[in-house]
């Protein structure tokens, strides 16, 4: 007898994406460019994070017609974003049949207290995290996949690096900790005790963790893969670059061969300008997306 929507099929979907690149696309044409370049999935959203940043205002779920058009145009999985805590947007996206939902800080949060109870859905969710406590709270709510938050739409890799380093350092610390200390660690991390025990026992997260928020060159992708990312999300980095097709292909190659520096050098030649970007250090606190939905 068939059973759908189980934890293993939701988490398994993310496992199948490992070593791959998930690209933000704003229309059918971009989705086809992403698929042709070897993307493992596309994230359908009307405006990439750098445009959301530039235009300001409230950022919401994308037009369902645009999402459906992309679903009809490519054979790879299609993801879409809902606002943090906006379970009605999530249910609408689920009803469209999207393959994954990103409960994302790139959009304006709808609830500053509660995230969506993701365990109740057939569709899997990915969520952002800046540290292990945040990662385990999201898994506790039912997220099947994680990604670093980074600082979306900046093209600056520093925040993604910080978040990946932080999560992995905390995992290493827990894995050598005495079992009797785990409750205090769960308290300090504000994380579910059972998940802290699981990390202690296995020395790794129970779901895959991709890098996101600032990846804009093949070298950035290789950096994050070597820091322990399972795969790469690229938001503004591809379609805000001078030659999106070349950038997309080069980032896919660098993600698949993250230690083959001769090859990465080869695909990085004459790529043209990457997205212009913003130095995160010059960004006002109010303009940062990563602190959204910290609870």
């Amino acid at each position: 007898m068939k059973v759908t929507g189980t934890e293993i099929v939701k988490r398994g979907m993310a496992q199948m994406q490992k070593g791959g690149v998930i690209m933000d696309v704003a229309n059918v044409e971009q989705a086809k460019v992403a698929e042709a370049a070897g993307a493992v999935a596309v994230m359908a959203l009307e405006k990439v994070p750098s445009d959301i940043r530039a235009e300001g205002g409230v950022a919401r779920m994308s037009d369902p017609a645009m999402i459906e058009a992309i679903m009809g145009a490519v054979s790879i999985p299609v993801m879409a974003k809902c606002r943090i805590g906006h379970f009605a947007e999530a249910r609408i996206l689920e009803s469209l049949g999207v393959d994954y939902i990103d409960e994302s800080e790139v959009l304006t949060p709808a609830d500053d207290n509660y995230h969506i109870d993701k365990s109740q859905y057939k569709v899997p969710f990915v969520c952002g995290c800046r540290d292990l406590g945040e990662a385990l709270r999201r898994i506790g709510e039912g997220a099947s996949m994680l990604r670093t938050k980074g600082e979306p739409g900046t093209g600056d890799i520093i925040e993604a690096v910080r978040h990946m380093q932080k999560v992995n350092q905390q995992i290493r610390q827990i894995s050598v900790e005495k079992p009797e200390n785990l409750m205090a660690i769960a308290r300090d991390l504000r994380a579910p005790y059972e998940l802290v025990q699981e990390v202690h026992a296995n020395g790794k997260l129970p779901v895959v963790n991709f890098a996101a928020g600032g990846v804009s060159t093949p070298a950035d992708a290789a950096l994050m893969m070597n820091l322990g990312a399972d795969g790469i999300f690229v938001g503004s980095g591809i379609f805000k670059s001078e030659h999106p097709e070349k950038f997309a292909k080069a980032i896919v190659t660098a993600t698949a061969h993250p230690t083959d520096y001769h090859l990465i050098a080869e695909v990085s030649k004459n790529l043209g300008s990457p997205m212009k970007g913003i130095d995160v250090a010059t960004l006002a606190d109010a303009d940062k997306m990563a602190p959204r939905g910290m609870e």
Binding site: G12, Q17, G19, A39, V40, T253
Partner: protein, 185 residues
């Protein structure tokens, strides 16, 4: 004896764990040179379109196709089944494949399967899985879903499953590959 795992994209570490459980040495395969000296190869689950593009870029598609044709043992799960069946990919298996044959991710499912050669049922985990619409006369059908779709089969040196044994803790299908295909070559 070393079995390779195609490591361009997908669930690579999961197959490594399985081979470790079977006490067989594994090697990650990322280039054409890596294909040398292997007793067999596993093509993992992942996105078949992405893996195919990387195989072409690495100039591995044609050499691997020739090896499979010449009798090199290969085990493909999900995307691996797709690549082995498509005539414009590896063309190593005589079957008509339907990609994403059960639907999108929300239709992904688990189902207990009877598999030829195994005494007890096997938990099939199907993720945006393909199935085989029809197979050639040389193909041995190993498992079907309750609704009658072919989801595991073998043909001489090739074993394919539409589901993901590597997502379970059950190494029996990997053992089948090692005992019935790799060791009998």
């Amino acid at each position: 004896m070393t079995i390779g795992i195609l490591a361009l994209q997908g669930a690579v570490a999961e197959h490594q764990n399985m081979l470790e459980q079977c006490q067989v040495e594994s090697k990650l395969v990322r280039t054409r040179q890596d294909l040398e000296g292997l007793a067999g190869l596993i093509i993992p689950g992942g996105e078949s379109t992405a893996i195919k593009k990387l195989l072409v870029r690495e100039e591995m598609l044609l050499p691997l196709k020739e090896m499979v044709k010449a009798g090199f043992p290969v085990f493909g799960t999900c995307a691996g089944l797709v690549l082995l069946s498509q005539t414009d990919s590896l063309a190593g298996f005589d079957g008509q494949v339907v990609r994403n044959g059960f639907g999108r991710q929300q239709d992904s499912f688990e189902e207990s399967l009877s598999v030829v050669g195994l005494d007890e049922p096997f938990l099939g985990i199907f993720i945006r899985a393909p199935y085989l619409e029809s197979v050639g006369s040389e193909v041995k059908i190993l498992a079907k879903t309750d609704d009658g779709r072919i989801v595991a089969a073998s043909q001489k040196n090739v074993l394919v499953t539409a589901f993901h044994p590597e997502l379970t803790a059950d190494p029996r299908i990997h053992e089948l590959f090692i005992n019935e295909i790799v060791n009998k070559k």
